[in-house]
């Protein structure tokens, strides 16, 4: 009895701090990959829209790979490929890199859709008013395009936030991994999983609702 009591102790309030710290790590890795991935996705989405031969035959199939292979496999591959080429990356680094590329692939398609949503007559009108290509992009395409695909982008961002739970396979202690650790110690799976789930839900649900309302308001 003495020896087991060391391993199995009940849930304490200090464990809440442990969970909060892990939640912070979830936010950190998803925040970094969403912002970097969105920036890269804007560039690649623009390239996809411009539709030169390179983007249709190389870029588009390449980005498609990241949407057709499970994220968990991508993570394991990247984590085990880095040492092969002599890099030494910790779980956070490889997780962030893979999540960033994954976000880029998803956002690029959203951005392409946004630019495509602006009709060609509108763009011709802008150009015939004497706007340059980039003026047209900034003052005409971006306001209309963003309204068209902002909800889709929110969906992608929330999806990446939820998928960041998978980085736990590499050993990065984010929220879900932390809850696993606590479950092993306290043997109270329901309570701890409910806490972890409540955090994800509390983050994702209001944002999803907000974007839904925004979508409704914009479509009127």
């Amino acid at each position: 009895m003495e020896s087991t009591s060391i391993f199995f102790t009940s849930f304490k309030t200090t464990d809440l701090w442990f969970l909060a710290e892990a939640a912070y790590r979830t936010l950190l890795i998803s925040g970094i990959s969403i912002s970097l991935g969105t920036a890269l996705g804007l560039i690649f989405g623009w390239l996809l829209h411009e539709g030169r031969l390179i983007s249709t035959f190389i870029l588009s199939p390449f980005l498609d790979i990241f949407r057709s292979v499970p994220l968990i496999i991508q993570l394991v591959l990247a984590y085990n490929f880095a040492p092969i080429i002599g890099l030494n990356i910790d779980p956070f680094g490889s997780g962030a890199i893979v999540l960033t590329i994954y976000t880029t692939a998803l956002v690029a398609n959203v951005v392409r859709g946004g630019i495509d949503a602006v009709g060609i007559p509108m763009r011709r009108a802008a150009r015939s008013l004497g706007m340059t290509y980039w003026q047209d992009m900034i003052y005409v395409v971006s306001p209309i395009g963003i309204r068209a695909v902002f909800p889709a982008w929110v969906g992608v961002a929330l999806g990446v936030m939820k998928d960041s739970a998978l980085v736990s396979v590499l050993g990065y202690v984010e929220l879900l991994r932390a809850s696993q650790i606590l479950i092993t110690r306290t043997q109270e799976p329901f309570l701890i999983l409910a806490l972890a789930g409540a955090f994800y839900f509390a983050l994702s649900f209001p944002i999803a609702r907000f974007s839904e309302r925004l979508e409704k308001r914009w479509s009127q």
């Binding site: 057709s68 991508q74 085990n80 040492p83 809850s179 799976p189 309570l191 994702s204």
Partner: protein, 219 residues
């Protein structure tokens, strides 16, 4: 770069991997079948009913859409253990995927039902059909047509999500890959081949759904 790739053990166990790929397809297909049935029922309940049943349906949908799929699998795997319910890995994955699919599909179907004009229902009823006949013969076929592409996407997601089975000990494609990789320590090689198999599975699903759509939606 002083790493030697060893592909031979991977190719020797290729039959095992392909068999595991079939297991992946099987669990994904089953979860889609259940997900579509539950999704249609949920969409109808959410649109037409009031009271506790509707609240149950809404909380299922929102929980499925706003928490990670891995969390849902862990819940079915470990969380239910608190109530003395212990599922085998196959049922954990099937239950988790079905829970998730049903949530997403219910929202797709709700959009599909809203896209059907009321007059369709009224026309069906005035032809003498009762409510269930009208749903089965008139409304749902049209809904299935509008949600055909989201359903294909969801099937692809189900295949990709089933890879999480690896973390609850289910031997589908990822689980089998991990099992074989841990026997030989050729982790990169095994997972690279698994990635190729996943890619092919996804392409086959998308391609066959496109072919099927030519056959289904001729008029």
């Amino acid at each position: 770069m002083d790493y030697n790739f060893h592909w031979r053990p991977v190719f020797r166990s290729l039959p095992d991997l392909l068999n595991a790929g079939l297991v992946t397809l099987e669990v994904a297909t089953l979860s889609m079948v259940f997900g579509v049935i539950i999704g249609i029922v949920f969409a109808i309940i959410r649109l037409n009913m009031r009271g506790p049943i509707r609240w149950f349906v809404i909380s299922w949908i929102e929980l499925a859409r706003n928490t990670p799929a891995l969390f849902q699998l862990f819940f079915f795997g470990f969380g239910l253990g608190a109530f003395g319910i212990h599922l085998t890995p196959f049922w954990i994955v099937l239950a988790g995927l079905t829970f998730n699919n049903a949530g997403y599909l219910a929202e797709n179907f709700r959009g599909g039902f809203l896209a059907i004009p009321d007059t369709q229902m009224r026309a069906a009823r005035s032809l003498g059909m009762n409510a269930s006949q009208a749903y089965v013969r008139v409304i749902i076929p049209q809904v299935l047509r509008t949600v055909y592409h989201p359903m294909t996407n969801q099937m692809v997601w189900a295949v990709l999500m089933s890879s999480l089975g690896m973390l609850v000990g289910f031997r589908e494609l990822s689980g089998e890959t991990q099992f074989l990789a841990s026997k030989t320590f050729r982790i990169f090689e095994y997972f690279a081949v698994a990635a190729v198999i996943y890619y092919v599975i996804v392409k086959i699903i998308i391609g066959s759904s496109r072919l099927l759509s030519f056959r289904l939606f001729r008029y």
